[in-house]
């Protein structure tokens, strides 16, 4: 319990740091980018959007940095992330709400899939170290992990979507279906998600596989593994419940830490597939210098990643009795 409490405090500190960075970045940049943006947008967008922007970044009031900060925090607590420029007059919270669920499902499912497949492959590779399985798979996956997610997405989209026409080219569901909890809609959503998810899984699998393989090699040298083999237990049982079970802990810490990286890659993947998640919205934000939207997305992703990290810590406590007994 104490361990979880400590972690919770840490994540709250991290969250506060993310929020404060978000507040400070526009105010500490040289040459006042917000002022430049307001000047550039004059006459191009709705004057009310500019007014909202001025208000959000404290350009109107001669208030002190501190009172701006307090104001900013209180707005955040009320779920007010400002007004979007690209999607004016929608608020940033509304725009993000549209994309968040798609990203959460896509990234969540593919990260977990990739973790399990990668860990399993790593276990087998370490068990059969030196075999063709190990010696071909490890370098192959290293190569795959060196491919930028979005480029793999481009290639996959070109071959399987454009040339072979097996999968749709854009979107998250067929547009002639009414979104809702109906069979055809869910099937269509899954059909549209296969390519983006496969891209993320293939690109992110290698890290977990190599991590698991290295940890397994250390546990395989332990006496209890030898003992289990001497007892004549089945190969699968020794591999999974004796060796893998003890090697998986560092990989779970790794899962939490690399999640931020996977999310970054997934955002770019979404852009390639025109998948209507946060990545796609992020591109719109970047293209129209929509700073409030960019910052809102950063904050949302930070919260999601911190939350997932905390869940991984809970798993850690469940899996590792030493942490539970620590007083």
């Amino acid at each position: 319990m104490q361990f979880l409490l400590r972690r919770l405090v840490f994540y709250l500190v991290a969250l506060w740091a993310a929020i404060s960075l978000n507040f400070l970045i526009p105010r500490l940049m040289p040459g006042d980018p917000v002022l430049l943006l307001v000047a550039r947008l004059q006459g191009q967008v709705d004057p009310r959007a500019i007014a909202a922007l001025r208000l959000q970044f404290g350009l109107n009031a001669n208030s002190s940095m501190w009172s701006q900060y307090v104001n900013y925090l209180s707005n955040l607590l009320h779920g007010d992330l400002g007004t979007s420029i690209a999607y004016f007059p929608s608020s940033v919270a509304e725009v993000i709400g549209l994309g968040l669920k798609w990203t959460m499902i896509l990234v969540g499912v593919s990260a977990i899939l990739s973790f399990f497949i990668g860990t399993l492959l790593g276990t087998i590779a370490a068990w059969r170290r030196g075999s063709w399985f190990d010696t071909t798979l490890s370098p192959l996956l290293t190569f795959f992990s060196a491919i930028p997610y979005f480029w793999l997405a481009l290639i996959v989209l070109y071959i399987l979507g454009f040339l072979l026409k097996w999968f749709p080219l854009t979107g998250a569901y067929s547009l002639d279906l009414e979104p809702g909890f109906s069979g055809p809609f869910i099937l269509s959503a899954i059909y549209h998600a296969i390519l983006p998810a496969a891209t993320i899984v293939i690109s992110s699998m290698a890290g977990w596989m190599l991590g698991m393989r290295n940890a397994m090699l250390t546990t395989l040298a332990e006496d209890y593994v030898l003992m289990a083999q001497a007892k004549g237990l089945s190969e699968r049982r020794v591999m999974i419940t004796y060796a893998a079970r003890n090697a998986i802990l560092p990989n779970i810490t790794g899962f939490a830490l690399s999640l931020g990286f996977v999310v970054g890659g997934a955002l770019l993947t979404e852009i390639v597939f025109s998948y209507p998640g946060l990545g796609y919205i992020l591109l719109q934000a970047v293209q129209s210098d929509d700073f409030p939207l960019m910052q809102g997305i950063f904050l949302m992703i930070a919260i999601a990643v911190l939350g997932a990290n905390f869940l991984a810590d809970v798993c850690y406590v469940v899996l590792d009795p030493r942490v539970r007994q620590e007083r």
Binding site: F10, Y11, V13, A14, A17, L21, I25, P26, M29, P30, G31, P33, A126, R129, G130, S131, T135, P139, T142, F143, S145, A146, I147, P148, F150, W151, L152, L154, I155, Y158, F162, L210, N214, L217, T218, A256, L257, L259, G260, F261, V263, G264, G265, L267, L268, I271, V272, L282, A285, V286, F291, M294, Q295, I297, F298, I301, A302, V305, L306, N309
Partner: protein
């Protein structure tokens, strides 16, 4: 008591030494030869992975330095050959405005590597300073710095980098490099801090402290030189991270899009719907180069890991 024991040990070793002198010189030579062989086994270039990795890396470095000398074509020059597939005249085809893809890939190597290496150097410098300071001093200093390191590790880097790069009034390779360095130092700092903590109680550090060396010298001359393998590994890891982030930011159009680099090539290609026009030759070369370069760096990194962790090394040998 302690002195007596040491004396006894010394005299014992002395006898051994005399014995060894008397023994056949052939054994001595054999021992030396074995020792040399073991050293050679441990040296960098014995590892196949490191050789492949450094080979790939060296190829791209040479390409970056000398490539533009041999390819005289201006990578940004327009021509009337629009979107033509690879041919003898254009080895990798042309873009929608008739630019030569081959010339762009060669020229782009320079900028991509430059940013990658610059970030690697800058971020590794930050992680060395921060990690060693935390690890050496311990206590409150360590607690505070560790907190900052861990916070930077859990905050998703790419979205933060995008926000930072978006706000910078000037767009270009230099701001991109600075921004990536600011978000990419934490991993190395964490690894170096852990290693420094285990080194700071070692005898050679105590000896340096006793002989009155300055703290600065102890940290950066005594301790740092003893963890150079980890610094190298973290440098390579950071360069991989840097190239990935750089390409990602350029793909989003957050760098100077008129500069020729692999990421910018992909930006223009996707913005011009290259795939839907069937122009795979515009997309494949830059991405393949990134993947090859990244794989080369990753192989080097794995190779160094195997050198420092004998268990992994023996496993890979089968």
């Amino acid at each position: 008591m302690a002195i007596k024991q040491r004396d006894a040990q010394a005299s014992f070793q002395g006898q051994q030494g005399v014995g060894a002198l008397r023994a056949d010189e052939g054994i001595r030579a054999e021992l030396l030869r074995r020792l040399a062989k073991r050293r050679a086994n441990l040296s960098l270039f014995r590892s196949v992975k490191i050789r492949i990795g450094l080979g790939i890396l060296g190829f791209f470095v040479l390409l970056a330095i000398f490539g533009p000398v041999f390819v005289h074509q201006d990578p940004q020059a327009f021509s009337s050959d629009v979107l033509s597939p690879p041919s003898a005249a254009h080895w990798m085809g042309t873009t929608q405005t008739g630019q030569d893809v081959f010339a762009q890939v060669i020229d782009g190597t320079r900028m991509t590597l430059l940013v990658g290496f610059a970030v690697g150097a800058l971020a590794t410098f930050l992680s060395v300073v921060i990690g060693l300071t935390a690890g050496y001093f311990g206590g409150v200093v360590d607690e505070l710095i560790s907190l900052v390191i861990n916070v930077f590790l859990v905050i998703p880097a790419l979205p933060l980098t995008i926000v930072l790069a978006g706000y910078i009034p000037v767009r270009g390779p230099l701001p991109v490099a600075v921004v990536i360095s600011l978000t990419g130092w934490a991993w190395g700092a964490r690894v170096l801090r852990a290693q420094t903590m285990s080194l700071r109680k070692r005898e050679f550090v105590e000896a340096a402290r006793a002989s009155g060396e300055s703290t600065f010298r102890i940290i950066f001359a005594e301790i740092l030189t003893n963890e150079l393998a980890i610094v190298a590994s973290s440098l390579i890891f950071t360069i991989i991270y840097a190239i990935f982030s750089e390409v990602g930011l350029e793909f989003l159009g957050l760098s100077d899009v008129t500069v020729t680099s692999w990421g910018n090539m992909l930006f223009w290609a996707t913005n011009n719907q290259a795939l839907l026009l069937g122009a795979w030759w515009w997309i494949v070369p830059p991405g393949l180069c990134i993947a090859l370069l990244g794989a080369g760096l990753a192989f080097t990194n794995n190779g160094i890991d195997e050198l420092t962790n004998p268990r992994l090394r023996d496993a890979s040998r089968g």
